[in-house]
């Protein structure tokens, strides 16, 4: 095992969490299994090149970061008509059977050390259920983290021919001294011909270490669109993934990040094409200032049976400072020739010609630069269906520039 098990972590702790929430037996069992698996599990894979490790997850000191019995959050949930949006624990009463069936079906708790830790200890999260044929717009979840550590688990189930747009925003509330740890797992089980847009905006304070894994299982004709905005945290490890399991399913993974100071952003977008006629589009745009470092891995994996696949990936990083670092690895793994796949990545500065043009039109240089940076994010902003989310992200970007 690569990470040390915190001393305050035992089956007893897990039972206490489960009991306090009056959980059904199956969930307690699932938590205990995850806990037991910790001994065997490894931390998530991190890219390594000769002499360099792109993110050092080993350095996370869970002993001091994790305080399982004192988790606290303040979460508000807005739900339009026809769709079920409930705190995870509350949902167990009414939707227990459904949750038992789907929990961990997309993100197995034993995927890695961090997912298992999360499954064993989570105390918050949301259950979203969209019944057949229902169109729901603007589900909004706003979470505030108020403790040293917080583990959240969200499950989204969309039935046949339904559609939903979701915004999740995570911020820090009460200040806690020293480092904190936030873990956020999101599973989407997208039913046949359903549409999901899941937007997530992470703006935790810069003492926080964040691990987030979001994965969708897309059924026939379904579409799953992710929008992932990362601005906060000292270290962010974010994985956004879609398995295109159904024929003609589609996904778009749109990411935006903006790092400053000594933030470390490890953001990843991955798609597995497993059926015929599937389409994926991965778009990530990031900006780095000061000594911030970004690490990006994009994976387009086309399986043997994925005939007639279309798969595209673009990653662009703007560097505002010489002290920053941008690492990227866009990968193509193609096992079926009936594929049209491409990826492109670029790293550079704000275009000097553009800047000059604007300055020559009498815009002060700094303002011109800021305008160009804001413009750089437009392709991402345009994808966002929830207005409030778009406004929030725009504001955060603007605030960081000033």
């Amino acid at each position: 095992m690569s990470a040390q098990l915190p001393a305050n972590l035992s089956a007893e702790t897990v039972r206490e969490i489960s009991d306090a929430r009056d959980e059904p037996e199956w969930l307690l069992e699932a938590r205990l299994e995850a806990l037991e698996a910790l001994d065997e599990l490894e931390l998530p894979d991190v890219i390594q090149t000769p002499g360099r490790r792109w993110t050092n997850l080993e350095a996370l000191d869970f002993e001091s970061l994790v305080d399982p019995l004192n988790q606290a959050d303040e979460t508000t949930r807005e739900s339009p008509e026809g769709v079920v949006v409930l705190p995870f624990t509350e949902a167990l009463d009414e939707y227990g059977d459904l949750i038992e069936e789907r929990f961990g079906s997309v993100v197995a708790p034993e995927s890695n050390y961090l997912t298992a830790l999360s499954a064993a200890l989570f105390t918050t999260g949301t259950f979203i259920y969209v019944p057949e044929g229902v169109d729901a717009e603007d589900v909004k979840i706003r979470a505030e983290m108020n403790s040293r550590s917080l583990f959240s688990h969200t499950l989204v189930v969309t039935e046949k021919s339904s559609s939903v747009t979701i915004l999740e925003a995570v911020e820090s509330g009460d200040s806690v001294d020293d480092a904190r740890y936030f873990s956020n797992l999101v599973e989407i089980d997208a039913g046949e011909n359903s549409y999901v847009q899941y937007g997530s905006l992470q703006n935790l304070d810069e003492e926080t270490y964040t691990y987030s894994l979001k994965r969708a299982d897309a059924d026939t004709y379904s579409t799953v669109n992710w929008i992932e905005g990362n601005l906060g945290s000292r270290l962010t490890r974010s994985d956004v993934e879609t398995e295109l399991n159904g024929e003609a399913s589609e996904t778009k993974i749109v990411g935006a990040f903006f790092g400053h100071d000594d933030q470390h952003l490890d953001v990843n977008a991955r798609v597995w094409h497993k059926a015929e006629n599937t389409t994926a589009d991965l778009v990530t745009r990031g900006v780095l200032d000061d000594e911030a470092r970004s690490v990006y891995e994009g994976v387009q994996d086309v399986g043997r049976d994925a005939w007639s696949t279309n798969s595209y990936q673009r990653e662009n990083t703007l560097m505002l400072s010489d002290q920053s670092e941008a690492d990227a690895s866009p990968k193509l793994i193609i096992n079926n020739h009936d594929t049209e796949a491409s990826h492109a990545a670029s790293v550079g500065q704000v275009d000097a010609e553009d800047l000059f043009y604007m300055v020559s039109r009498s815009i002060p240089e700094e303002q011109a630069r800021n305008m160009l940076v804001e413009g750089f994010f437009v392709p991402v902003l345009e994808e966002i269906a929830v207005d409030e989310f778009r406004d929030d992200l725009e504001e955060l970007i603007a605030a960081r520039l000033r």
Partner: protein, 476 residues
């Protein structure tokens, strides 16, 4: 332009590579790798003490390093058991260090190289030729006019004796230390043969020099070392060709190449690799490029069972530049894992990487590349382009680039595409009278044309012919 290349039509290309020769040798080392083996080899070569010491240090490195097994999608190396390899075979040749007249070679060896077309090529298009058979260079010659200008082109073992100072300074010290990877360490311990090229200041060697490496014995390993030192303002083009007949047991080729590109010097290193499909081809090739220097790596990887090859350029001086052109063609049972590494360690450095791969009949290609731009390497730029062509859904094509950018005033671009042969394109060619096979072949040769264009005519022709042979298996 026809008569110059008459030799090429004399023999069928496939037959040229695939024939076997009965193995006759003066000295064959025991299988496997022990300190004793290395002492024996070093003694047989009458090496200075420091070289023996380097070999033994490399052996220690080798013994403690793990096999690379955890790279995503890498070739399976579990069959590569170095203890089964015959690391050193000295062919039965009178003159140590190679003769300078083909006629002085034993008939069977001369015959081998005749069939490969080497003596003919030498007459027509090369400044010099070295030919290695098993572990030793058996022929070495260079036109006198280059010798007069101080150009050195000799076999590596001889260079250890005759240019000891230069070799001692550069040999596996600052460019490819044995600690670099397990196969570099193995190479450091049992290297034998290869070329030493020294080009003095401001000398331009107009025609390429070529080394040809031939493995003829079953179950042997070839570990030649190539060291090129190009002084300030000089220019040279080095070509290596490789082949072996096919045997059932595996062969191992683990060459080491070190290139020192001086200020404003220009070195081009071209490889057309056609090892037999039982060969593991695991090489370490690296260049250090000084201010204003230019390094070009051109590789065609057609043969071998598994290849792991990522020629590297370290752009050390301001304005140094690198150009990589690679083509990989993987057919049935082949796993060709190739790519490029470039370290931008100075301002205004530039690199371009162009990779083309073709996979068919269950073959697997992987582009694996690294571009590192160090902090302070201001105004540097890199452009990477990878294109892959796939024939069927049994084959696999992976693209795994890594970019580490520590400087903001840079221009970094990476693009990759994967696709199949276009049906409309095939129809167009068919409607002009080409049959299906010829149409596909024409599209493939067009696909790799940007690379053949960079090669001297003989090699371009050779590469195209090899592609044709690869294609013939699957089509029709």
């Amino acid at each position: 332009m026809s008569s110059d290349q008459d030799h090429l039509k004399e023999t069928d290309t496939e037959a040229r590579f695939e024939f076997k020769k009965e193995q006759k040798a003066a000295f064959v080392a025991e299988k496997g790798l022990t300190e004793e083996t290395i002492r024996v080899i070093s003694e047989d070569k009458d090496e200075p003490e420091w070289m023996l010491e380097r070999r033994l240090r490399a052996l220690k490195q080798y013994q403690k390093m793990p096999m690379p097994t955890d790279w995503p999608g890498q070739p399976d190396l579990s069959e590569v058991n170095v203890d089964e390899i015959v690391p050193y075979i000295r062919p039965d040749v009178e003159v140590r260090g190679g003769v300078d007249d083909w006629r002085d070679l034993p008939d069977d060896i001369k015959d081998t190289f005749d069939k490969l077309g080497i003596p003919e090529a030498e007459k027509n298009a090369l400044s010099g030729v070295g030919a290695q058979y098993e572990s030793e260079v058996v022929y070495q010659n260079m036109q006198e006019r280059w010798e007069e200008k101080g150009v050195v082109f000799m076999n590596m073992d001889q260079a250890v004796q005759e240019h000891e100072d230069i070799v001692k300074e550069y040999f596996m010290t600052k460019c490819v230390p044995p600690s670099d990877n397990k196969f570099a360490a193995l190479h450091g311990a049992i290297w034998s043969g290869g070329s030493f090229v020294y080009v003095p200041e401001d000398v331009t060697v107009e025609m390429p020099v070529q080394a040809y490496f031939r493995m003829n014995s079953e179950g042997m390993g070839q570990f030649e070392h190539t060291l090129i030192v190009a002084e300030k303002g000089s220019e040279v083009h080095y070509i290596e060709g490789c082949s072996a007949p096919k045997y059932s047991a595996f062969n191992l080729h683990s060459g080491g190449v070190e290139v020192f590109v001086g200020e404003d010097a220009h070195v081009q290193y071209s490889t057309v690799q056609n090892w037999s499909k039982n060969t593991y081809n695991l090489n370490t090739k690296r260049a250090i490029v000084e201010k204003g220097g230019r390094m070009e790596w051109i590789s065609g990887s057609m043969g071998s069972k598994a290849t792991m090859l990522y020629p590297a350029s370290i752009l050390k001086g301001r304005g140094a530049s690198d150009n990589h052109i690679t083509i990989a063609f993987a057919g049935e049972g082949q796993n060709i894992d190739t790519g490029a590494k470039v370290y931008h360690n100075a301002p205004e450095t530039k690199s371009t990487i162009e990779s083309k791969s073709i996979s068919k009949d269950g073959g697997r290609t992987n582009y694996r590349g690294l571009v590192h731009i160090a902090n302070g390497a201001k105004n540097s730029s890199t452009a990477v382009e990878c294109d892959a062509l796939m024939f069927d859904n049994e084959s696999t094509s992976d693209t795994m680039p890594y970019m580490e950018i520590n400087e903001s005033t840079v221009d970094v671009a990476h693009e990759a595409t994967v696709g199949k042969i276009g049906d409309e394109d095939i129809f167009y060619l068919q409607s002009r009278g080409l049959d299906d096979d010829d149409a596909k072949q024409m599209i493939v040769s067009g696909f790799i044309e940007p690379i053949t264009e960079e090669l001297p005519i003989e090699y371009a022709v050779e590469l195209n012919r090899l592609v044709e042979l690869e294609m013939e298996g699957s089509l029709g």
